[in-house]
Symmetry: C2
């Protein structure tokens, strides 16, 4: 295995500091890096080790360009509606340096430049029985492996649902069979900006002990954890 020697960050620290990266340089990913990222993705567990995950990896060339154009068009439409509905331009969204307006700028840039993302990955779930809520247990761990492996190799990425509004066209373009569910749209590239600590709710809101809603005494954030309210911004 060629894993040894590529690591510049430890496993635990890497998990804690893998952020969603939505801005990329124009640098293409060499074949070896693509291989190593996808190899790591496919090491994930799945139910009975069936490995029902499949990854469409689109980089350059006319089909990849068309896939990016399709998804980019859907993403811009979706973001425009969400920006208005979730009030990204109201309240603190009017202050240039608020987290809300910074996220809105990043998202706008992301969808505006979608056609330039270096690597577009469509993870799919290949169904073999009636759909169940637990199907995701056999594809999303592989998606998380992909994002973490990208971080390990100097890349960054984000998991989105941008394919959803253009799924019919995408399926035709890429010859995706009916029994495959497109599980996500993941984009990858060399980050503009940096990985680093992420912001989440305080641990006692997310971790319970022997009864729902009641956190055990040990479930406290380590010093330095960054907090955020959950979900998209309200009107504040």
């Amino acid at each position: 295995m060629e894993s040894t020697g590529r690591d510049t960050v430890g496993l635990y620290e890497g998990i804690l500091s893998t952020r969603a990266i939505r801005r990329y340089t124009d640098e293409a990913a060499p074949d070896e890096d693509l291989r190593d990222m996808l190899f790591a993705a496919t090491r994930a567990p799945s139910g009975s080790n069936r490995q029902p995950f499949r990854f469409l990896v689109l980089t350059s060339g006319p089909v990849a360009q068309e896939a990016k154009r399709l998804i980019g068009t859907g993403a811009r439409r979706f973001w425009e509606a969400k920006r208005a509905a979730d009030g990204y331009d109201r309240g603190s969204g009017q202050m240039e340096d608020s987290p809300k307006s910074r996220l809105a700028r990043t998202m706008q840039h992301y969808v505006d430049d979608f056609e330039r993302v270096p690597v577009l990955v469509l993870p799919c779930y290949l169904g073999y029985r009636a759909p169940a809520p637990s199907d995701g247990a056999s594809v999303y761990p592989a998606c998380q492996n992909l994002l973490l492996a990208a971080r390990a190799l100097g890349y960054g990425g984000v998991l989105t649902g941008w394919h959803q509004s253009v799924e019919t066209d995408l399926r035709a373009l890429l010859a995706i069979p009916d029994q495959a569910v497109i599980s996500a749209t993941i984009t990858l590239g060399r980050p503009v900006g940096h990985h680093g600590p992420v912001r989440r709710r305080p641990l006692p809101e997310l971790v319970y002990g022997e009864r729902w809603g009641e956190a055990p005494a040990w479930a406290v954030d380590p010093p330095g954890a960054g907090h955020t309210a959950a979900g998209p911004p309200g009107g504040t």
Copy 2:
């Protein structure tokens, strides 16, 4: 953050060598390790950063013991049926050292001793809209983070669906509300045995380029990759 200094394996190498661990020593996990594993789990991404994941963490005490007993009972029933239906005792399952009979022994031991697993985690998904196949994108990345963080801190675990047949009783015992879906049963502990490379299908069967079913030239396994057929064994 207290992450630095706990790492003994690199991020990329850790992803490649995190196996399903189903045998544990009786050692309990100290509070600090529980905290750090769950903290890592909750750093995972989720749709719009809503963080709809919740983790019930059960260790010792009467409620935890009852939860383990419930799930263990369901697991033994399920495994007995699966062992017969999937032919684990036929063909190569009759040879003591075949992969099939080794897996069968491990599984039998796992369900027989379920009440002794040091840490039982029930990750839940807190629904906020009509269920969709993409819901898993907001809970299973956190489950994978948990398994990887366990590996980072010297533990091991496995993601199962053992809760499914005893869900009604579990919900009552733990006061799990109706809008929460139990997404998985994860067990964790100090491994008997070792982490190491996992076996998956060859990469060209899992990774496609611009058309479904057609692997790009770079999608080849690095040297030393271990292969497996997918899914449970047939009659061979």
